[in-house]
């Protein structure tokens, strides 16, 4: 018995906020930071056996200011390297690279990473905004399927 609204998240933030969500998501998936935020691009690996796949995040915008827009974050796990950065249009993208992986496998891993990033970002956005509006969180839980539920008192 309720009113239910389905929402498509929009990731619009500066690099420092987005990189925090990337860090949390990658940690949850067992990735470790290969190098910190590095200015410029062009850190692609050499070698013909390396497969690459790129995923652009729809409904995202990395805002200028704060940490800048030329930064990137590189994480690694089991020979897979994921480079998060801002594309020419300002959207968040992740470039996946790995040896011994198909393009489809890399795309799937990249997609899972981006879904985790979205979950982390939305969680922090909601909690921060609710606190600012003075809406108390009365219950919070993570379900078996990793769905995060936050319950707040209406103001």
């Amino acid at each position: 018995m309720s009113s239910v609204i389905l929402v498509t998240p929009l990731i619009i933030a500066n690099w420092s906020v987005i990189s925090a969500a990337v860090l949390g998501a990658c940690g949850a998936m067992g990735f470790t930071v290969a190098s910190g935020a590095v200015s410029g691009s062009g850190r692609a690996r050499s070698g013909s056996s390396v497969t690459r796949a790129e995923i652009e995040v729809e409904n995202s915008e990395v805002l200028a200011g704060g940490g800048g827009t030329d930064e990137e974050m590189v994480v690694e796990k089991d020979g897979v390297r994921a480079t998060f950065s801002r594309d020419a249009r300002g959207a968040l993208k992740v470039c996946m690279e790995g040896t011994g992986y198909s393009k489809g496998q890399l795309k799937q891993i990249g997609q899972e990473l981006m879904e985790q990033v979205t979950q982390q970002y939305v969680y922090h956005r909601v909690v921060t905004e609710l606190k600012e509006r003075g809406m108390p969180i009365v219950h919070e839980e993570v379900e078996a399927d990793r769905t995060v539920k936050i319950r707040v008192r209406n103001w």
Binding site: S3, V4, I5, V7, T8, P9, V126, V138
Partner: protein, 67 residues
Amino acid sequence: MAEEIEISISPTGQVTVRTIGIKGPKCVQAAEAVAKIIGQIESRELTSEYYEAEGHVSGQIEVRGRR
């Protein structure tokens, strides 16, 4: 019953905002206010609580047994 809003964030990044104990059009306003923090509203579902009147209704029912 306390008026609450529940936000569910799935591992795939899908978000659902649900009101609990909020009656009338106020429940949509409350859910929309939270939904707008997150992003773009894709769909709305109104359930019976929307059509319930706000406030309390009191009454008395007398049951008489048959002799």
